[in-house]
């Protein structure tokens, strides 16, 4: 147990991912420390989502190893893997809510599978999660097709958090939200990280999120991590893309 605390929660070593002859990730290394919010940035099409999907096991890798919670996902057996999957939550870019289930059923789906608790507690926890992500209880009986884009994001986050995971993957959580909603979302992620000791792996393009929510930032380029560190490190970096990213017009606007 003590070792698990010191070791990074996600340890990615030399992973290579290839689609046909295009090499998307090329010997990439990355550590995510326990309890931190890691913001993950990079140009569009650089493979941010591919890395996320590789870590959670949806995209096969050509080489390298991935350890999550100290478990090597390649050599783990089914029960170890299930145990890891129970401890992480994933927010997909498009929400990926189950379209034939209501919001309530969506959030309760993992609970039903993994926990043996009463319907009453599940309903109450569902309401708690909905309140946490800033939705009204009335939303619970709606179907995903009856929700707006921002509401889908929030419900998807509520579902990702439904088992109180130790680690959440957020793929562009604030895209498509209004600035106030995005700000609330950042704050919510912060609160959850403080209260639940959550580790957050967040792919984002939102400079506000990077400034206000993230403890550390990793930058992906050419299939590798080209820089990792605090926001100050990023601003000090001489890398051309980083300079453009953190000193461009929009970045200056955010920094005031």
């Amino acid at each position: 147990m003590a070792g698990e605390i010191q070791n990074p929660i996600i340890r990615v070593r030399d992973i290579t991912v290839q689609f046909g002859s295009t090499r998307v990730l090329d010997g990439l290394n990355l550590d995510v420390k326990r309890g931190e919010i890691l913001g993950f940035v990079g140009p569009s099409g650089a493979g941010k989502s591919v890395l996320t999907r590789t870590i959670i096991g949806l995209v096969p890798k050509v080489a390298g190893s991935i350890e999550v919670f100290g478990v090597d996902l390649d050599s783990s057996n089914t029960s170890q893997r299930r145990n890891v999957e129970r401890r992480w939550g994933v927010l997909f870019q498009q929400g990926a809510l189950f379209s034939s289930l209501t919001v309530r059923q969506n959030i309760q789906f993992p609970m039903r599978e993994y926990l043996r608790v009463s319907q009453r507690l599940m309903d109450e926890i569902t309401m708690a999660k909905l309140t946490m992500v800033g939705l009204k209880p009335e939303v619970a009986e709606r179907f995903p097709s009856e929700l707006s884009g921002g509401m889908i994001k929030r419900v998807a986050l509520a579902r990702a958090l439904s088992l109180d995971p130790d680690l959440v993957f957020l793929d562009e959580p604030t895209s498509g939200l209004d600035p106030i909603g995005a700000g609330d979302f950042d704050e919510l992620v912060r609160t959850l990280q403080r209260t639940l000791g959550l580790t957050v792996f967040m792919v984002t393009h939102d400079l506000d999120s990077l400034y206000t929510a993230c403890d550390r930032i990793a930058v992906l380029g050419n299939g590798k991590i080209i820089a990792a560190g605090s926001i100050a490190d990023m601003q000090a970096s001489q890398h051309p893309w980083l300079r453009q990213y953190f000193h461009g017009k929009r970045a200056r606007a955010v920094m005031g």
């Binding site: 109450e124 309140t131 639940l196």
Partner: protein, 377 residues
Amino acid sequence: MNSDPKLERIAKGNALALCATGTWTASFAPVLERIVADAEKLAGGPQSIFIDVSEVAKLDTFGAWLIERLRRSLTKGPVEAQIAGLSANYSSLVDEVRRVRATAVVDGGTVTITGMLEQIGRTVAGVGGTVAGLVDMLGAVLAAGFRVLIHPRSFRLTSTVHHMEQVCWRAVPIIVLITFLIGCIIAQQGIFHFRRFGADIFVVDMLGVLVLREIGVLLVAIMVAGRSGSAYTAELGSMKMREEIDALRTMGFDPIEVLVLPRMMALVLALPILAFLGAMAALYGGGLVAWLYGGVEPEAFLLRLRDAISIDHFIVGIVKAPVMAAVIGIVACVEGLAVQGSAESLGQHTTASVVKGIFFVIVMDGVFAIFFASIGM
């Protein structure tokens, strides 16, 4: 690090302290629920109650909510229960769950006899709507067809050819195989039963008339409804789900003209071809069985076939094909465009497309049978 959660009762003078210890997290939720339900029985006592959470090793939403639930149920009456010993870390979580309003969840509705009767009534009343929808689509397709006739350049030839390949060319192997087998079976059964009357040779009459007039086209139409009708519904339905059809409309395109018309054209052209190939395969299969099993030489088979059937039989069969294709296509497109936002709805409409398609094909076949009988063909 993880230890079983407990809730100890310690009397402190006038007050009662409930000391929570151990891990109050989702993994222990079933145990926690029992503990809290036990403690809730203390409600209504005279003492004031403290819930001391300073010894809790780990707390998450489940634990925090159960403590909050306990606090709420103990607060009833004049006594107010309080939570004590909150660490700074956990207080914001508890504050968060404190905002939760306990709303009664509406249950999904139980099945009642009235509800079932209502459902049946609605379905029956919906039949009229279905027919109206089909006529509506027929009108829309014809209107689009006329527009294309006036402006032939707006006809989507590439799309039509693509769909022709999907529904016609790629369907040939399976259609030929199945109709071949059906031809074999009809011939085998015919010979088996006719032999008792020494009427072996009449199997050729039966095979020819049956295959050319009815079985050939009907069987092929049913297979096309299952194969291509379902594909049309699924394609249009998923396009509807992802707002692609709305996108087309906002760009000034008519979805009927762009999506439905090429599919209909492809199907209307494909079904006669497939029906013809199917009929030939069935005759070939039947002839083969008549030869190998019934001892009818191929020359004798062909001679008898020429006597038994006329061009009328063939025309009766093949004339039905484009009409059946239109029915299948319209049903499939109507169902596809009726898909709502969920995967379940897509499945329902695809099923409905095939079921209704086959139903209408058989109804049409009956109508044709009456028609041809009355004109003496």
